[in-house]
């Protein structure tokens, strides 16, 4: 149960923002076409880490509803026209409406430009709380959400796997760090959290939810004037796994050879 904090006032409708990215499914095979990644056969889905963010937003809204605190969840998505599907899929599990920053020209390609554009959109909504995934599984930069928080001058805690609300404006979160350890922080809103695996499991959309999703509002806005500061100048693909290398010989030799290969060739030890 939420304990009321009598010295804090809230607007009548709290806004929860969720940053959502439309990325190629992690099972996709990545191929190059000329100088770029071939997007023709790729299947795009909501970034898996953003799913945790969406689910947490919906859970938070449900929790606050129990104390008669209405909240509205707004999804923010930057991407080409097709990326609107990410917002629709998010609507199906409980996001209320969305803002689609349309970027067909690939204007925002690095962390800074993406974060700037997202932050500009967020500024129009005055969010009390923003959830995001810890990283996008296409660019793997692990930076945008943190940058958005900074640009909004919102405190943040990233990579959380647990979030407990101790009051309607304060949460105790657990941040995952190296070695399986967790740092625990108490955070007062407004704040931004980025979600790690383990925070929750996104619910499956019910058919009524999918139906309702088709009717929810998506506001399309053009992308702010941003410029990428990091340019991708080329791509290469790692070598295919190829044939297995069977290691022969006496056990002692096999063990030694294996470890040698893992260290020098595979570079995993």
């Amino acid at each position: 149960m939420i304990r009321w904090q009598s010295d804090v006032s809230l607007t009548t409708m709290t806004k929860i923002g969720v940053l959502i990215k439309f990325v190629p499914d992690t099972n996709s095979r990545i191929q190059l076409k000329g100088d770029a990644v071939d997007e023709a056969d790729l299947k795009f889905v909501i970034n898996p880490y953003d799913e945790f963010a969406i689910e947490e937003a919906v859970k938070t809204k449900e929790l606050w509803a129990k104390s008669n605190l209405p909240a509205e969840i707004v999804g923010i998505c930057l991407g080409p026209t097709a990326a609107a599907k990410a917002l629709r899929d998010a609507f199906a599990v409980g996001v209320d409406r969305g803002i689609h920053i349309v970027d067909n020209a690939k204007t925002a390609t690095d962390s800074r430009s993406i974060a700037t554009a997202l932050a500009e959109a967020c500024k129009t909504e005055s969010f009390n709380l923003i959830y995001a995934g810890k990283q996008a599984v296409d660019s793997d930069n692990h930076a945008v959400a943190v940058m958005v928080a900074e640009k909004l001058k919102m405190p943040h805690i990233a990579v959380i796997s647990k979030c407990e609300w101790t009051a309607n404006t304060e949460a105790t979160v657990e941040r995952d760090v190296e070695g399986g350890m967790k740092d625990i922080y108490k955070v007062k809103l407004p704040a931004l959290f980025t979600a790690n695996k383990g925070l929750n499991k996104m619910r499956l959309a019910s058919l009524p939810g999918i139906r309702a999703a088709a009717k929810k509002e998506i506001k399309e806005i053009p992308i702010a004037a941003v410029k990428a500061g990091i340019k991708v100048s080329g791509w290469s693909l790692p070598p295919e796994r190829g044939q297995v290398k069977m290691i022969e010989g006496e056990p002692e030799k096999q063990a030694a050879e294996l470890v040698r290969l893992l260290h020098t060739e595979a570079k995993v030890i």
């Binding site: 992690t26 692990h142 943040h156 350890m181 500061g229 893992l262």
Partner: protein, 318 residues
């Protein structure tokens, strides 16, 4: 010659090797460093001895634990004074949080999690799509640029000359911050979580008893790895369900997956096939996993596992 500020890290007073790798990225530049924590003296000294011109050591014990606002504030002060061209850090838990925040604060471009980085050439390489593609990244001209370097990507380096350590304080107001650090928990086990582990040692039904799994635990401890099991092993009671890797268990994505006595039928494969390097050890030469592995040994896992552990110990200097 650029002016570079590196954000160094220490653990229990020792400088992290990854911080020295940053020196390799900045090998022809004028390097300064910032390091946090009341125990960081030895680390700060080491940096100075390795050619870092000036090491700003934030000594206050409140900086013993990471606090995004506080650390960013302290760095901000140093950056404003120093005016470096580049600010780089390790793509560690802290680095992946602090460096982006600073990049946003100073509106500088950020190249994250580079596996190659050269300040001189203003470029690096960064893996996309969980490592399925490697991008060449280049820094556009900017007043100040930011980057993080993946640990173990470059060799640890050193610069010529020696520098000094400057004890610095920060006037960050912890008390009024909306973020209040509470505590850190120890890991529930010494081993990393299966789903996030970089190295996994996994066993099948051939281990025969729960006790026999010890030989895999030994190897895992040596490698700092997590331990997984096939469904058959879990069914036989050799391992707990939380260790199950596979279709109905956990999906894992380590850099190295060592499978002992696991045949590699599709149900298991579904849970670990994205592993970067797969090693299969099995006495059955027809085990399907050999088709999917990078390296394979046909042999007795009871003999091989301990031998491999020994070899790893030698390799890692343990």
């Amino acid at each position: 010659m650029k002016k570079v500020l590196i954000i160094a890290e220490q653990k229990k007073g020792s400088l992290k090797k990854a911080s020295l790798e940053l020196l390799t990225a900045a090998k022809n530049d004028e390097v300064h460093a910032i390091i946090f924590g009341s125990q960081a003296k030895a680390a700060a000294d080491e940096l100075a001895s390795k050619g870092v011109k000036e090491v700003f050591w934030i000594k206050d014990a409140k900086f013993d634990h990471y606090h995004p606002e506080a650390f960013a504030s302290a760095c901000e002060e140093v950056i404003k004074t120093l005016k470096p061209d580049y600010v780089i850090g390790t793509a560690s838990s802290q680095g992946k949080d602090l460096v982006p925040k600073l990049a946003a604060r100073f509106d500088g471009p950020l190249a994250s999690d580079c596996v190659e980085l050269s300040i001189d050439h203003a470029k690096g390489k960064h893996p996309f799509f969980s490592g399925k593609a490697l991008a060449d990244v280049a820094f556009e001209a900017s007043t100040i640029s930011f980057a993080t370097l993946r640990p173990n990507s470059l060799a640890a380096g050193a610069l010529t000359g020696a520098g000094k350590v400057t004890e610095t304080s920060s006037n960050f107001d912890f008390a009024s911050s909306p973020i209040q650090y509470q505590k850190s928990t120890e890991a529930t086990s010494d081993r990393p979580d299966l789903t996030e582990a970089g190295v996994i040692v996994s066993g099948g039904r051939s281990l025969k008893t729960k006790d026999n799994f010890k030989i895999l635990f030994d190897l895992a401890d040596t490698l700092g790895a997590a331990v997984g099991a096939s469904r058959a092993a879990v069914d036989e009671g050799l391992a707990g369900h939380d260790m199950q890797v596979g279709q109905t268990g956990k999906t894992v994505n380590p850099s190295l997956y060592l499978a002992f006595g696991i045949s590699g039928a599709i149900q298991h494969l579904a849970g670990m096939r994205t592993s970067k390097v797969i090693v299969a050890v099995n006495k059955d030469p027809n085990a399907p996993l050999f088709q999917k592995a990078n390296y394979g040994i046909v042999g007795d896992l009871f003999v091989l596992a301990p031998l491999i552990t020994e070899e790893c110990k030698k390799q890692l200097g343990k």
